[in-house]
Protein backbone atom coordinates (compact mmCIF):
# COMPACT_ATOMS: atom_id res chain seq x y z
CA UNK A 1 0.00 0.00 0.00
CA UNK A 2 2.73 2.43 0.99
CA UNK A 3 4.79 1.41 -2.01
CA UNK A 4 1.80 1.93 -4.25
CA UNK A 5 1.44 5.43 -2.87
CA UNK A 6 5.11 6.13 -3.46
CA UNK A 7 4.73 4.97 -7.05
CA UNK A 8 1.62 6.99 -7.83
CA UNK A 9 1.90 10.19 -5.78
CA UNK A 10 5.66 10.32 -6.11
CA UNK A 11 5.46 9.53 -9.80
CA UNK A 12 3.04 12.34 -10.49
CA UNK A 13 5.02 14.97 -8.59
CA UNK A 14 8.23 13.85 -10.27
CA UNK A 15 6.50 14.10 -13.62
CA UNK A 16 5.66 17.72 -12.96
CA UNK A 17 9.15 18.38 -11.69
CA UNK A 18 11.14 16.75 -14.45
CA UNK A 19 9.12 16.76 -17.65
CA UNK A 20 10.15 19.66 -19.86
CA UNK A 21 7.04 19.74 -21.96
CA UNK A 22 4.22 20.42 -19.54
CA UNK A 23 3.49 24.01 -20.57
CA UNK A 24 0.35 24.13 -22.72
CA UNK A 25 2.24 25.36 -25.77
CA UNK A 26 4.82 22.63 -25.57
CA UNK A 27 2.29 19.98 -24.79
CA UNK A 28 -0.05 20.75 -27.64
CA UNK A 29 2.70 21.56 -30.12
CA UNK A 30 5.17 18.82 -29.45
CA UNK A 31 2.94 16.09 -28.21
CA UNK A 32 -0.36 16.51 -30.03
CA UNK A 33 0.05 18.46 -33.27
CA UNK A 34 3.52 17.18 -34.14
CA UNK A 35 2.59 13.49 -33.94
CA UNK A 36 -0.61 14.11 -35.88
CA UNK A 37 1.37 15.47 -38.80
CA UNK A 38 3.75 12.57 -38.49
CA UNK A 39 0.78 10.26 -38.95
CA UNK A 40 -0.55 12.27 -41.90
CA UNK A 41 2.88 12.35 -43.53
CA UNK A 42 3.29 8.62 -43.50
CA UNK A 43 -0.33 7.93 -44.33
CA UNK A 44 -0.11 10.07 -47.46
CA UNK A 45 3.23 8.59 -48.36
CA UNK A 46 1.78 5.12 -47.94
CA UNK A 47 -1.23 5.99 -50.06
CA UNK A 48 0.93 7.31 -52.83
CA UNK A 49 3.33 4.38 -52.85
CA UNK A 50 0.50 1.93 -52.28
CA UNK A 51 2.60 0.02 -49.80
CA UNK A 52 -0.31 -0.68 -47.51
CA UNK A 53 -3.77 0.60 -46.78
CA UNK A 54 -4.78 3.54 -44.59
CA UNK A 55 -5.54 1.34 -41.64
CA UNK A 56 -2.00 0.02 -41.59
CA UNK A 57 -0.56 3.54 -41.41
CA UNK A 58 -3.11 5.24 -39.22
CA UNK A 59 -3.28 2.58 -36.52
CA UNK A 60 0.43 1.84 -36.57
CA UNK A 61 1.51 5.46 -36.41
CA UNK A 62 -1.02 6.27 -33.73
CA UNK A 63 0.51 3.60 -31.51
CA UNK A 64 3.97 4.87 -32.40
CA UNK A 65 3.18 8.48 -31.47
CA UNK A 66 3.05 7.43 -27.83
CA UNK A 67 6.76 6.74 -28.05
CA UNK A 68 7.73 10.41 -28.23
CA UNK A 69 6.38 11.35 -24.81
CA UNK A 70 7.40 8.05 -23.28
CA UNK A 71 10.96 7.80 -24.55
CA UNK A 72 11.81 11.44 -23.91
CA UNK A 73 9.83 11.45 -20.69
CA UNK A 74 11.54 8.37 -19.35
CA UNK A 75 14.88 9.90 -20.20
CA UNK A 76 14.01 13.17 -18.52
CA UNK A 77 12.72 11.33 -15.46
CA UNK A 78 16.27 10.36 -14.62
CA UNK A 79 18.58 12.60 -16.60
CA UNK A 80 17.01 15.87 -15.45
CA UNK A 81 17.93 15.04 -11.85
CA UNK A 82 21.39 15.97 -12.93
CA UNK A 83 20.25 19.32 -14.21
CA UNK A 84 18.58 20.23 -10.95
CA UNK A 85 21.28 18.75 -8.74
CA UNK A 86 18.69 16.69 -6.89
CA UNK A 87 19.97 13.18 -7.52
CA UNK A 88 21.84 13.01 -4.22
CA UNK A 89 18.74 13.88 -2.27
CA UNK A 90 16.70 11.27 -4.10
CA UNK A 91 19.34 8.61 -3.54
CA UNK A 92 19.35 9.41 0.17
CA UNK A 93 15.83 8.04 0.38
CA UNK A 94 15.66 4.87 2.40
CA UNK A 95 12.85 3.53 0.24
CA UNK A 96 12.83 1.15 -2.65
CA UNK A 97 14.61 2.53 -5.73
CA UNK A 98 12.55 0.24 -7.89
CA UNK A 99 9.30 1.76 -6.67
CA UNK A 100 10.59 5.31 -7.01
CA UNK A 101 11.73 4.92 -10.59
CA UNK A 102 9.03 2.62 -11.87
CA UNK A 103 6.50 5.03 -10.42
CA UNK A 104 8.00 7.76 -12.52
CA UNK A 105 7.22 5.88 -15.70
CA UNK A 106 3.47 5.67 -15.04
CA UNK A 107 2.56 9.32 -15.78
CA UNK A 108 4.55 9.24 -19.01
CA UNK A 109 2.83 6.06 -20.07
CA UNK A 110 -0.52 7.72 -19.34
CA UNK A 111 0.60 10.71 -21.33
CA UNK A 112 1.62 8.50 -24.22
CA UNK A 113 -1.71 6.75 -24.16
CA UNK A 114 -3.51 10.09 -24.32
CA UNK A 115 -1.43 11.15 -27.32
CA UNK A 116 -2.02 7.88 -29.11
CA UNK A 117 -5.76 8.11 -28.54
CA UNK A 118 -5.96 11.72 -29.74
CA UNK A 119 -3.82 11.03 -32.78
CA UNK A 120 -5.81 7.97 -33.72
CA UNK A 121 -9.14 9.75 -33.30
CA UNK A 122 -8.19 12.85 -35.26
CA UNK A 123 -6.25 10.89 -37.85
CA UNK A 124 -9.13 8.50 -38.43
CA UNK A 125 -11.61 11.38 -38.76
CA UNK A 126 -9.41 13.32 -41.19
CA UNK A 127 -8.60 10.38 -43.41
CA UNK A 128 -11.95 8.67 -43.09
CA UNK A 129 -10.97 5.42 -41.40
CA UNK A 130 -13.78 3.56 -39.69
CA UNK A 131 -12.91 1.78 -36.52
CA UNK A 132 -15.55 -0.65 -35.21
CA UNK A 133 -16.82 0.44 -31.78
CA UNK A 134 -16.28 -2.97 -30.27
CA UNK A 135 -12.60 -2.72 -31.18
CA UNK A 136 -12.12 0.33 -28.94
CA UNK A 137 -11.35 -1.43 -25.64
CA UNK A 138 -8.85 -3.69 -27.34
CA UNK A 139 -7.19 -0.76 -29.08
CA UNK A 140 -6.88 1.06 -25.79
CA UNK A 141 -5.28 -1.99 -24.28
CA UNK A 142 -2.77 -2.30 -27.11
CA UNK A 143 -1.88 1.38 -26.93
CA UNK A 144 -1.52 1.22 -23.16
CA UNK A 145 0.83 -1.74 -23.48
CA UNK A 146 2.88 0.09 -26.11
CA UNK A 147 3.06 3.25 -23.98
CA UNK A 148 4.13 1.40 -20.89
CA UNK A 149 6.81 -0.51 -22.75
CA UNK A 150 8.07 2.73 -24.28
CA UNK A 151 8.18 4.35 -20.86
CA UNK A 152 10.38 1.58 -19.48
CA UNK A 153 12.50 1.79 -22.61
CA UNK A 154 12.92 5.52 -21.95
CA UNK A 155 13.79 4.82 -18.32
CA UNK A 156 16.54 2.48 -19.46
CA UNK A 157 17.90 5.22 -21.71
CA UNK A 158 17.63 7.68 -18.83
CA UNK A 159 19.59 5.33 -16.58
CA UNK A 160 22.30 5.24 -19.23
CA UNK A 161 22.12 9.02 -19.25
CA UNK A 162 23.23 9.11 -15.63
CA UNK A 163 26.51 7.64 -16.65
CA UNK A 164 27.01 8.93 -20.18
CA UNK A 165 26.61 12.58 -20.81
CA UNK A 166 24.92 12.95 -24.15
CA UNK A 167 21.83 10.93 -23.47
CA UNK A 168 19.67 13.17 -25.66
CA UNK A 169 21.54 11.92 -28.69
CA UNK A 170 20.55 8.42 -27.73
CA UNK A 171 16.89 9.32 -27.26
CA UNK A 172 16.73 11.26 -30.50
CA UNK A 173 18.33 8.45 -32.42
CA UNK A 174 16.10 5.92 -30.70
CA UNK A 175 12.98 7.78 -31.71
CA UNK A 176 14.20 7.91 -35.31
CA UNK A 177 15.04 4.21 -35.19
CA UNK A 178 11.61 3.35 -33.85
CA UNK A 179 10.14 4.94 -36.99
CA UNK A 180 12.18 2.59 -39.10
CA UNK A 181 12.50 -0.65 -37.18
CA UNK A 182 9.11 -1.20 -35.59
CA UNK A 183 7.50 -2.02 -38.90
CA UNK A 184 5.01 0.80 -38.42
CA UNK A 185 5.87 2.51 -41.66
CA UNK A 186 7.78 -0.05 -43.63
CA UNK A 187 5.97 -3.37 -43.40
CA UNK A 188 8.17 -5.86 -41.56
CA UNK A 189 8.22 -8.04 -44.67
CA UNK A 190 9.99 -5.25 -46.54
CA UNK A 191 12.82 -5.01 -44.02
CA UNK A 192 15.99 -7.12 -44.06
CA UNK A 193 16.09 -9.89 -41.49
CA UNK A 194 18.44 -8.26 -39.02
CA UNK A 195 16.38 -5.10 -38.85
CA UNK A 196 13.29 -7.16 -38.21
CA UNK A 197 15.16 -9.02 -35.48
CA UNK A 198 16.11 -5.77 -33.78
CA UNK A 199 12.54 -4.56 -34.11
CA UNK A 200 11.34 -7.62 -32.23
CA UNK A 201 13.17 -6.29 -29.16
CA UNK A 202 11.96 -2.73 -29.45
CA UNK A 203 8.81 -1.32 -27.93
CA UNK A 204 5.81 -0.61 -30.20
CA UNK A 205 6.55 -3.35 -32.76
CA UNK A 206 4.22 -5.88 -31.18
CA UNK A 207 1.75 -3.31 -29.85
CA UNK A 208 1.28 -1.88 -33.34
CA UNK A 209 0.74 -5.36 -34.71
CA UNK A 210 -1.83 -6.11 -32.01
CA UNK A 211 -3.62 -2.81 -32.60
CA UNK A 212 -3.88 -3.47 -36.33
CA UNK A 213 -5.40 -6.88 -35.79
CA UNK A 214 -7.89 -5.44 -33.35
CA UNK A 215 -8.77 -2.52 -35.62
CA UNK A 216 -9.34 -4.95 -38.44
CA UNK A 217 -12.05 -6.51 -36.26
CA UNK A 218 -10.12 -9.67 -35.51
CA UNK A 219 -11.04 -9.58 -31.85
CA UNK A 220 -8.89 -9.59 -28.77
CA UNK A 221 -8.00 -13.27 -28.99
CA UNK A 222 -6.18 -12.78 -32.27
CA UNK A 223 -4.14 -9.99 -30.72
CA UNK A 224 -3.30 -11.80 -27.51
CA UNK A 225 0.01 -13.15 -28.69
CA UNK A 226 1.58 -9.85 -29.89
CA UNK A 227 0.15 -8.10 -26.83
CA UNK A 228 1.86 -10.60 -24.59
CA UNK A 229 5.11 -10.16 -26.48
CA UNK A 230 4.91 -6.39 -26.12
CA UNK A 231 4.42 -6.68 -22.38
CA UNK A 232 7.31 -9.12 -22.18
CA UNK A 233 9.58 -6.62 -23.94
CA UNK A 234 8.34 -3.94 -21.53
CA UNK A 235 9.09 -6.12 -18.53
CA UNK A 236 12.56 -6.69 -19.93
CA UNK A 237 13.27 -2.96 -20.13
CA UNK A 238 11.77 -2.40 -16.69
CA UNK A 239 14.17 -4.91 -15.24
CA UNK A 240 17.09 -3.56 -17.25
CA UNK A 241 16.44 -0.01 -16.04
CA UNK A 242 16.36 -1.05 -12.40
CA UNK A 243 19.50 -3.13 -12.72
CA UNK A 244 21.35 -0.30 -14.48
CA UNK A 245 20.25 2.24 -11.90
CA UNK A 246 21.37 -0.07 -9.15
CA UNK A 247 24.75 -0.69 -10.76
CA UNK A 248 25.36 3.00 -11.35
CA UNK A 249 24.39 3.87 -7.81
CA UNK A 250 26.74 1.32 -6.30
CA UNK A 251 29.46 2.38 -8.69
CA UNK A 252 28.98 6.04 -7.89
CA UNK A 253 29.42 5.45 -4.18
CA UNK A 254 32.61 3.64 -4.90
CA UNK A 255 34.06 5.92 -7.52
CA UNK A 256 32.21 9.19 -7.06
CA UNK A 257 31.13 8.92 -10.69
CA UNK A 258 27.70 10.54 -10.45
CA UNK A 259 27.43 14.22 -9.69
CA UNK A 260 25.23 13.20 -6.84
CA UNK A 261 25.50 16.56 -5.16
Amino acid sequence: MKTLRLMTVGGVIAYRALFNWTTPGMFIGTLLVGPLFQLLFFAYLGRQLQVADDRFYIVGNAVLTASLACVFGGTMAVANERRFGTLGHVLLSARSRTAIFWGRVLPYAGNGLLIAVVTLTVGALLLGLRVPVRAVPGLLLAMAAGSLTCGFFGLTLGALGLRFRDVWVVSNVSVALLLLLTGVNVPASGLPGWMRAVGEWLPITHAAEAARRIAAGDGLAAAASPLGQELLVGAGYAAAAVVLLKIFEVESRRRASLDAL
Binding site: L6, I13, F84, L92, R255, L261
Partner: protein, 326 residues
Protein backbone atom coordinates in the same frame (compact mmCIF):
# COMPACT_ATOMS: atom_id res chain seq x y z
CA UNK B 1 19.93 1.65 19.79
CA UNK B 2 23.10 -0.15 20.66
CA UNK B 3 25.48 2.72 20.27
CA UNK B 4 26.18 5.60 22.55
CA UNK B 5 27.53 7.66 19.69
CA UNK B 6 25.52 9.22 16.91
CA UNK B 7 28.50 9.24 14.55
CA UNK B 8 31.69 7.24 14.74
CA UNK B 9 34.32 7.71 12.07
CA UNK B 10 37.27 5.40 12.19
CA UNK B 11 40.31 6.19 10.07
CA UNK B 12 38.24 7.21 7.04
CA UNK B 13 40.10 7.58 3.80
CA UNK B 14 38.87 8.51 0.39
CA UNK B 15 40.79 8.71 -2.86
CA UNK B 16 39.41 10.20 -6.04
CA UNK B 17 40.63 8.81 -9.26
CA UNK B 18 40.52 11.09 -12.21
CA UNK B 19 41.49 10.28 -15.72
CA UNK B 20 42.87 13.09 -17.78
CA UNK B 21 43.66 12.88 -21.43
CA UNK B 22 41.79 10.80 -23.92
CA UNK B 23 44.29 9.19 -26.20
CA UNK B 24 46.85 8.64 -23.50
CA UNK B 25 44.80 8.31 -20.35
CA UNK B 26 46.76 9.47 -17.36
CA UNK B 27 45.50 8.46 -13.98
CA UNK B 28 45.80 10.94 -11.21
CA UNK B 29 44.84 10.15 -7.68
CA UNK B 30 43.76 12.74 -5.20
CA UNK B 31 43.51 11.82 -1.56
CA UNK B 32 40.72 14.03 -0.36
CA UNK B 33 40.39 12.49 3.08
CA UNK B 34 43.37 10.76 4.63
CA UNK B 35 42.59 9.09 7.89
CA UNK B 36 39.83 10.94 9.70
CA UNK B 37 38.61 9.63 13.06
CA UNK B 38 36.19 11.23 15.44
CA UNK B 39 33.03 10.51 17.37
CA UNK B 40 29.97 12.63 17.87
CA UNK B 41 27.74 11.99 20.84
CA UNK B 42 23.97 11.91 20.64
CA UNK B 43 22.48 15.38 20.66
CA UNK B 44 25.85 16.98 20.17
CA UNK B 45 26.43 19.85 17.78
CA UNK B 46 29.71 19.07 16.12
CA UNK B 47 31.54 21.44 13.80
CA UNK B 48 33.86 20.56 10.95
CA UNK B 49 35.94 23.60 10.20
CA UNK B 50 38.50 23.96 7.46
CA UNK B 51 39.60 25.82 4.37
CA UNK B 52 38.17 25.09 0.92
CA UNK B 53 39.21 21.70 -0.40
CA UNK B 54 40.17 20.44 3.04
CA UNK B 55 37.90 17.39 2.73
CA UNK B 56 34.83 18.58 4.63
CA UNK B 57 32.26 17.75 1.97
CA UNK B 58 33.90 14.43 1.18
CA UNK B 59 33.80 13.51 4.87
CA UNK B 60 30.11 14.33 5.01
CA UNK B 61 29.38 12.33 1.88
CA UNK B 62 31.23 9.37 3.34
CA UNK B 63 29.10 9.58 6.45
CA UNK B 64 25.77 10.08 4.68
CA UNK B 65 26.25 7.03 2.40
CA UNK B 66 26.66 8.91 -0.88
CA UNK B 67 30.27 7.75 -1.10
CA UNK B 68 31.97 4.56 0.01
CA UNK B 69 35.20 5.05 1.93
CA UNK B 70 38.34 3.81 0.18
CA UNK B 71 39.28 2.43 3.58
CA UNK B 72 38.21 2.86 7.17
CA UNK B 73 34.74 2.50 8.63
CA UNK B 74 32.02 4.73 9.92
CA UNK B 75 28.81 4.22 11.81
CA UNK B 76 25.79 6.44 12.16
CA UNK B 77 23.55 5.57 15.11
CA UNK B 78 25.40 2.29 15.26
CA UNK B 79 24.76 1.37 11.62
CA UNK B 80 27.55 0.86 9.15
CA UNK B 81 27.45 3.50 6.41
CA UNK B 82 28.80 1.21 3.77
CA UNK B 83 26.47 -1.74 4.16
CA UNK B 84 23.44 -0.73 6.20
CA UNK B 85 22.51 2.12 3.92
CA UNK B 86 18.79 1.93 4.49
CA UNK B 87 19.04 2.02 8.23
CA UNK B 88 21.41 4.95 8.03
CA UNK B 89 19.35 6.88 5.49
CA UNK B 90 16.25 6.53 7.60
CA UNK B 91 17.99 8.38 10.41
CA UNK B 92 19.82 11.16 8.64
CA UNK B 93 19.01 14.44 6.96
CA UNK B 94 21.31 16.25 4.56
CA UNK B 95 21.34 19.95 3.78
CA UNK B 96 23.88 21.70 1.66
CA UNK B 97 24.50 25.32 0.87
CA UNK B 98 24.03 26.91 -2.50
CA UNK B 99 20.93 27.07 -4.61
CA UNK B 100 20.93 23.81 -6.55
CA UNK B 101 19.27 20.61 -5.50
CA UNK B 102 15.62 21.63 -5.75
CA UNK B 103 13.07 21.11 -8.48
CA UNK B 104 12.79 24.63 -9.84
CA UNK B 105 9.56 24.10 -11.69
CA UNK B 106 7.69 22.84 -8.67
CA UNK B 107 6.39 24.93 -5.81
CA UNK B 108 8.13 24.75 -2.45
CA UNK B 109 5.21 22.76 -1.14
CA UNK B 110 5.44 20.18 -3.92
CA UNK B 111 9.16 19.82 -3.40
CA UNK B 112 8.49 18.99 0.23
CA UNK B 113 5.62 16.66 -0.63
CA UNK B 114 7.79 14.71 -2.99
CA UNK B 115 10.65 14.30 -0.59
CA UNK B 116 8.26 13.50 2.25
CA UNK B 117 7.16 10.60 0.10
CA UNK B 118 10.73 9.58 -0.70
CA UNK B 119 11.90 9.88 2.86
CA UNK B 120 9.06 7.72 4.12
CA UNK B 121 6.99 10.22 6.08
CA UNK B 122 3.68 8.44 6.73
CA UNK B 123 0.93 9.91 4.48
CA UNK B 124 -1.26 10.94 7.39
CA UNK B 125 1.48 12.95 9.01
CA UNK B 126 2.81 14.60 5.86
CA UNK B 127 0.47 17.56 5.82
CA UNK B 128 1.02 18.46 9.44
CA UNK B 129 4.74 17.93 9.26
CA UNK B 130 5.15 20.07 6.14
CA UNK B 131 3.08 22.90 7.62
CA UNK B 132 5.15 22.71 10.77
CA UNK B 133 8.42 22.94 8.87
CA UNK B 134 7.23 25.74 6.61
CA UNK B 135 6.47 27.64 9.78
CA UNK B 136 9.80 26.76 11.28
CA UNK B 137 11.81 28.04 8.33
CA UNK B 138 9.55 30.99 7.75
CA UNK B 139 8.26 30.03 4.33
CA UNK B 140 4.62 29.75 5.32
CA UNK B 141 2.55 31.76 2.87
CA UNK B 142 5.07 31.43 0.06
CA UNK B 143 4.91 27.66 -0.30
CA UNK B 144 2.71 27.66 -3.38
CA UNK B 145 5.13 29.72 -5.44
CA UNK B 146 7.52 28.02 -7.83
CA UNK B 147 11.01 27.57 -6.52
CA UNK B 148 12.52 29.25 -9.60
CA UNK B 149 11.23 32.54 -8.20
CA UNK B 150 12.73 32.02 -4.73
CA UNK B 151 15.62 34.06 -3.47
CA UNK B 152 18.78 32.34 -2.38
CA UNK B 153 17.88 32.61 1.28
CA UNK B 154 14.45 31.10 0.67
CA UNK B 155 15.96 28.20 -1.24
CA UNK B 156 18.33 27.63 1.62
CA UNK B 157 15.48 27.53 4.10
CA UNK B 158 13.60 25.13 1.86
CA UNK B 159 16.69 22.91 1.81
CA UNK B 160 16.62 22.84 5.59
CA UNK B 161 12.94 22.05 5.72
CA UNK B 162 13.53 19.17 3.34
CA UNK B 163 16.38 17.86 5.47
CA UNK B 164 14.13 17.80 8.50
CA UNK B 165 11.05 16.21 6.92
CA UNK B 166 11.51 12.79 8.44
CA UNK B 167 12.68 14.16 11.80
CA UNK B 168 16.17 12.71 11.41
CA UNK B 169 18.27 11.81 14.44
CA UNK B 170 21.38 13.11 12.73
CA UNK B 171 21.49 16.16 10.52
CA UNK B 172 24.37 16.91 8.17
CA UNK B 173 24.67 20.58 7.35
CA UNK B 174 27.23 21.28 4.66
CA UNK B 175 28.06 24.99 4.64
CA UNK B 176 24.44 25.98 5.06
CA UNK B 177 25.10 29.69 5.47
CA UNK B 178 27.01 30.11 2.21
CA UNK B 179 25.70 33.12 0.33
CA UNK B 180 23.04 33.90 2.90
CA UNK B 181 22.66 37.47 4.13
CA UNK B 182 23.67 38.27 7.74
CA UNK B 183 20.15 38.52 9.12
CA UNK B 184 19.10 35.24 7.52
CA UNK B 185 22.34 33.64 8.72
CA UNK B 186 21.51 34.65 12.26
CA UNK B 187 18.05 33.10 12.00
CA UNK B 188 19.63 30.00 10.55
CA UNK B 189 21.96 29.72 13.52
CA UNK B 190 19.01 30.05 15.86
CA UNK B 191 17.17 27.28 14.03
CA UNK B 192 20.18 25.00 14.22
CA UNK B 193 20.67 25.73 17.91
CA UNK B 194 17.00 24.95 18.58
CA UNK B 195 17.28 21.64 16.75
CA UNK B 196 20.30 20.63 18.75
CA UNK B 197 18.57 21.68 21.95
CA UNK B 198 15.66 19.42 21.00
CA UNK B 199 18.03 16.44 20.77
CA UNK B 200 19.01 16.25 17.12
CA UNK B 201 22.66 15.48 16.50
CA UNK B 202 24.08 18.01 14.09
CA UNK B 203 27.26 17.79 12.06
CA UNK B 204 27.96 21.22 10.65
CA UNK B 205 30.66 22.29 8.24
CA UNK B 206 31.40 25.93 7.80
CA UNK B 207 34.20 28.33 7.36
CA UNK B 208 32.56 31.09 9.28
CA UNK B 209 34.35 31.22 12.57
CA UNK B 210 31.67 33.09 14.46
CA UNK B 211 29.11 30.50 13.41
CA UNK B 212 31.22 27.62 14.68
CA UNK B 213 32.13 29.45 17.88
CA UNK B 214 28.56 30.34 18.68
CA UNK B 215 26.96 27.00 17.84
CA UNK B 216 29.25 24.07 18.25
CA UNK B 217 29.81 21.95 21.32
CA UNK B 218 32.97 20.65 19.76
CA UNK B 219 34.93 21.54 16.67
CA UNK B 220 37.31 19.55 14.51
CA UNK B 221 39.64 21.61 12.36
CA UNK B 222 40.33 19.72 9.17
CA UNK B 223 42.99 20.68 6.67
CA UNK B 224 44.63 18.71 3.95
CA UNK B 225 42.39 15.73 4.56
CA UNK B 226 43.26 15.17 8.19
CA UNK B 227 42.02 16.49 11.48
CA UNK B 228 44.50 18.99 12.82
CA UNK B 229 42.80 19.80 16.09
CA UNK B 230 39.67 18.74 17.92
CA UNK B 231 38.02 20.16 20.99
CA UNK B 232 35.49 22.58 22.40
CA UNK B 233 35.74 26.15 21.13
CA UNK B 234 37.40 27.24 24.33
CA UNK B 235 39.86 24.36 24.17
CA UNK B 236 40.74 25.31 20.63
CA UNK B 237 41.11 28.89 21.64
CA UNK B 238 43.62 27.63 24.14
CA UNK B 239 45.68 26.33 21.23
CA UNK B 240 46.50 29.92 20.77
CA UNK B 241 47.06 30.13 24.51
CA UNK B 242 50.37 31.31 25.61
CA UNK B 243 50.00 33.81 22.85
CA UNK B 244 49.15 37.42 22.86
CA UNK B 245 48.08 39.44 19.87
CA UNK B 246 49.16 43.01 19.24
CA UNK B 247 47.31 44.88 16.54
CA UNK B 248 48.68 48.12 15.19
CA UNK B 249 47.10 50.41 12.64
CA UNK B 250 49.80 52.10 10.60
CA UNK B 251 50.28 54.10 7.42
CA UNK B 252 53.04 53.18 4.98
CA UNK B 253 54.95 50.42 6.74
CA UNK B 254 58.01 49.36 4.67
CA UNK B 255 58.59 45.65 4.10
CA UNK B 256 61.87 45.89 5.99
CA UNK B 257 60.06 46.99 9.16
CA UNK B 258 57.73 43.98 8.95
CA UNK B 259 60.59 41.52 8.70
CA UNK B 260 62.32 43.32 11.53
CA UNK B 261 59.20 42.72 13.63
CA UNK B 262 59.34 39.03 12.82
CA UNK B 263 62.85 38.82 14.21
CA UNK B 264 61.95 40.39 17.52
CA UNK B 265 62.45 38.04 20.49
CA UNK B 266 59.18 36.34 21.50
CA UNK B 267 57.33 37.05 18.22
CA UNK B 268 55.79 33.97 16.59
CA UNK B 269 53.97 35.26 13.54
CA UNK B 270 53.25 38.56 11.88
CA UNK B 271 50.70 39.49 9.28
CA UNK B 272 49.92 42.65 7.37
CA UNK B 273 46.50 43.41 5.98
CA UNK B 274 45.89 46.45 3.81
CA UNK B 275 42.71 48.39 4.58
CA UNK B 276 42.65 51.26 2.16
CA UNK B 277 45.38 53.71 3.04
CA UNK B 278 45.77 52.01 6.36
CA UNK B 279 47.60 48.79 7.15
CA UNK B 280 46.68 46.48 9.96
CA UNK B 281 49.67 44.75 11.52
CA UNK B 282 48.95 41.65 13.59
CA UNK B 283 51.75 40.32 15.73
CA UNK B 284 51.39 37.00 17.58
CA UNK B 285 53.80 36.65 20.43
CA UNK B 286 54.44 34.49 23.48
CA UNK B 287 52.10 35.69 26.17
CA UNK B 288 54.76 36.13 28.78
CA UNK B 289 56.77 38.47 26.59
CA UNK B 290 55.37 41.95 26.27
CA UNK B 291 56.35 42.83 22.74
CA UNK B 292 54.26 45.95 22.42
CA UNK B 293 57.08 48.26 23.40
CA UNK B 294 59.51 46.57 21.02
CA UNK B 295 57.00 46.70 18.19
CA UNK B 296 56.38 50.40 18.65
CA UNK B 297 60.10 51.05 18.80
CA UNK B 298 60.59 49.26 15.45
CA UNK B 299 57.85 51.34 13.94
CA UNK B 300 59.25 54.64 15.16
CA UNK B 301 58.88 57.37 12.58
CA UNK B 302 55.85 55.74 10.93
CA UNK B 303 52.45 57.33 11.37
CA UNK B 304 50.40 55.04 13.60
CA UNK B 305 46.71 54.78 14.44
CA UNK B 306 45.08 52.65 17.11
CA UNK B 307 47.29 50.19 18.99
CA UNK B 308 45.67 47.26 20.75
CA UNK B 309 46.88 44.29 22.71
CA UNK B 310 44.32 41.49 23.15
CA UNK B 311 43.62 37.85 23.99
CA UNK B 312 43.60 35.54 20.95
CA UNK B 313 40.19 34.71 19.44
CA UNK B 314 39.02 31.42 17.91
CA UNK B 315 39.88 32.84 14.54
CA UNK B 316 43.47 33.41 15.63
CA UNK B 317 43.59 29.83 16.85
CA UNK B 318 42.14 28.57 13.58
CA UNK B 319 44.66 30.52 11.54
CA UNK B 320 47.45 29.18 13.72
CA UNK B 321 46.27 25.57 13.31
CA UNK B 322 45.70 25.74 9.58
CA UNK B 323 48.92 27.57 8.82
CA UNK B 324 50.82 25.06 10.94
CA UNK B 325 49.35 22.29 8.76
CA UNK B 326 50.32 23.96 5.52
Amino acid sequence: MGSTYAIEANDLRRTYRARTGWLKPKRTEVEAVRGVSFTVGRGELFGLLGPNGAGKTTTIKLLNTLLIPTSGTARVCGHDVERETRAVRRRIGYVFGGDRGLYDRLSGLDNLRYFAELYGVPPREQKRRIAELLDLVGLAGRERERVEGYSRGMRQRLHIARGLLHAPDVLFLDEPSIGVDPVAARELRRTVADLAAAGTTVLLTTHYMAEADELCDRIAVIADGTIQALGTPSELRRRADGRRVVEVEAYGVPESAVSALRDLPGVRETAVEARGALQLLTVHSDAHVDVQGDVLRELAGIRLGRVDSREPTLEDAYVAIVSAAA
